[in-house]
């Protein structure tokens, strides 16, 4: 999956068969704007709010969310990225490769951290992210924003902001890109197995 994410991050599409688009670029833009409004409403503004995108799928969404907030409120929200590779609980079960170095150039202690990821699946990536975040400080609160909640949680984790609830099969794959969200099945052949699209 790490490889797949690296490929996805460089812009080449994931090799999916029976691919169908479930959100187009406009849907995606509207969802980001709606989530921005929800973040503002829930936190009564942006006082103390920072945004942290999970590498790699959450990073571009975090930037888009920050841009939407800047447009609505005229405030630049501190935005960083977090790589959770070293905190995963499946390090011994499958190849885990860090995607890109964590970059959080601000304090998280006593801030409200909005974690952003593309797909929420088992919840294990978010669990790892909570551990990773703890190593950077003690946030006042952590909130979770995801573009797609595809179900199949294995841990007691739920999102605060959701772009789209999307029922999926365990072996399907969700691909969130700049042009929209696709659902499909991973093409057979060499490369990573099924079950990707967020953890």
């Amino acid at each position: 999956m790490a490889r797949r994410e690296r490929v996805a991050a460089t812009g080449s599409p994931v090799d999916l068969v029976e691919r169908s688009q479930v959100m187009d670029a406009d849907d995606l833009r509207r969802a980001v704007v709606r989530i921005a409004h929800e973040v503002l409403e829930r936190n009564h503004g942006l006082e103390g709010v920072v945004i942290v995108g999970l590498q790699t799928g959450g990073a571009p969404l975090a930037r888009r969310l920050a841009a939407a907030l800047a447009e609505i409120e005229g405030v630049e929200v501190p935005t960083g990225t977090l790589d959770v590779a070293f905190y995963r609980d499946d390090i011994r079960l499958r190849p885990v490769v860090p995607e890109a170095a964590t970059d959080i150039p601000f304090e998280v202690t006593d801030r409200i951290v909005v974690l952003v990821d593309d797909v929420l699946f088992t919840g294990r990536t978010v669990r790892a992210a909570l551990d990773a975040l703890t190593d950077h400080g003690r946030p006042r609160a952590v909130q979770l924003a995801v573009m797609v909640d595809r179900g199949h949680r294995e841990l007691p984790i739920r999102p605060d902001y959701v772009g789209k609830n999307l029922p999926t099969g365990r072996h399907q794959m969700v691909d969130v890109g700049a042009e929209g969200v696709d659902l499909g099945t991973v093409a057979p052949g060499p490369g990573p197995g099924p079950g990707g699209g967020g953890g």
């Binding site: 590779a85 070293f86 905190y87 390090i91 011994r92 190849p95 885990v96 890109a100 551990d131």
Partner: protein
């Protein structure tokens, strides 16, 4: 995965493997810069440093790297161990392996020992220096340091100066620099060059002064005084006069030229004290990056292997 199951030589690693290690090292530089420079990635794993030849700094660097990954660390030194009582290398490493360690970091004064050890144990083996053969993590940390400073090594003119013949650092670095597209020139008196340089991707010069002006990087090798003086060199002073990076020579370097040394330095011999502390020197960055590079190597061998 292009790296693993062992790290025995830069030559085995190849350009892709080198690129992979350098890319992953970025993440560990970030970890090392944190207030608490530690991640749980290798919790429950054990890394043993087995040094049949002493080297405080390399051992410390590996052990620091392992601890920052939350691995447990065991170490064995020749002076205090059963090796001093005549135990063979094979028995020593198989005993440690049987205790269930996940990685053995091996240094030995003979070339090829880590390679041999990798056939005897189930743990991942990391070569921490074998005779005059290779010292791969040194080359990786040097490449990382240069890449961090210059962005790329492509087309960089690198002088490797000094005792190439006895240097495992020179061997590993020449392969690594070449793999990343640098142009390497060995600068040394004929007595300190290997008898044959066939297959080495290098140019050779015996005149440091003639090469300095064009150099982007000057990589100084340690002169092993106890070994060379008398047999291979008339005197240490003679060596410094011809091949030492003195203050006067350092002034003739370009404004962006970098000076590296793998340590430990003989100040006043291969490098003047003022040059080692001067603006061109990245010697302390090499040491800091060494820990991050070794974290990357241990993580890729133990964590990313699945």
């Amino acid at each position: 995965m292009s790296i693993g199951p062992h790290l025995l030589s830069v030559a085995d690693l190849g350009p892709e493997g080198i690129a992979e290690v350098l890319e992953v090292t970025d993440s560990f530089v970030e970890v090392s810069a944190r207030e608490i420079p530690k991640v749980p990635a290798l919790r429950g794993r054990t890394v043993a440093t087995v040094f049949f030849e002493d080297s405080t700094r390399t051992r410390l660097s590996f052990e620091t790297a392992a601890r920052r990954l939350s691995a447990d660390v065991a170490n064995l030194s020749v002076g205090t161990s059963s090796v001093a009582k005549g135990e063979s290398v094979r028995d020593t490493v198989q005993t440690i392996d049987a205790m269930g360690v996940d990685a053995l970091v091996v240094r030995h004064r003979s070339a090829g020992v880590p390679h041999q050890v990798s056939a005897w144990v189930s743990a991942a083996v990391v070569n921490a220096g074998d005779g005059a053969h290779e010292h791969p993590t040194q080359a990786l940390l040097d490449c990382y340091t240069l890449r961090a400073r210059r962005g790329s090594l492509k087309g960089a003119r690198i002088l490797v100066v000094g005792d190439v013949a006895h240097s495992r650092v020179a061997r590993s670095n020449v392969w690594a620099f070449d793999a990343l597209g640098a142009e390497v020139c060995l600068v040394a008196p004929p007595t300190l060059l290997p008898p044959s340089l066939q297959g080495w991707p290098v140019r050779v010069s015996h005149d440091l002064d003639a090469e300095l002006g064009d150099a982007d990087v000057v990589y100084l090798l340690r002169l092993q005084r106890e070994r060379q003086v008398g047999a291979l060199l008339p005197s240490v002073r003679e060596y410094t006069r011809g091949f030492g990076l003195t203050r006067d020579r350092a002034r003739r370097l370009g404004p962006d030229a970098l000076v590296l040394h793998p340590g430990p330095m003989n100040r006043g011999v291969e490098i003047a004290a003022e040059v080692a502390e001067g603006p061109a020197s990245v010697i302390t960055e090499q040491v800091a990056n060494g820990v991050a590079v070794r974290m990357a190597v241990l993580f890729l061998l133990l964590g990313a292997a699945g």
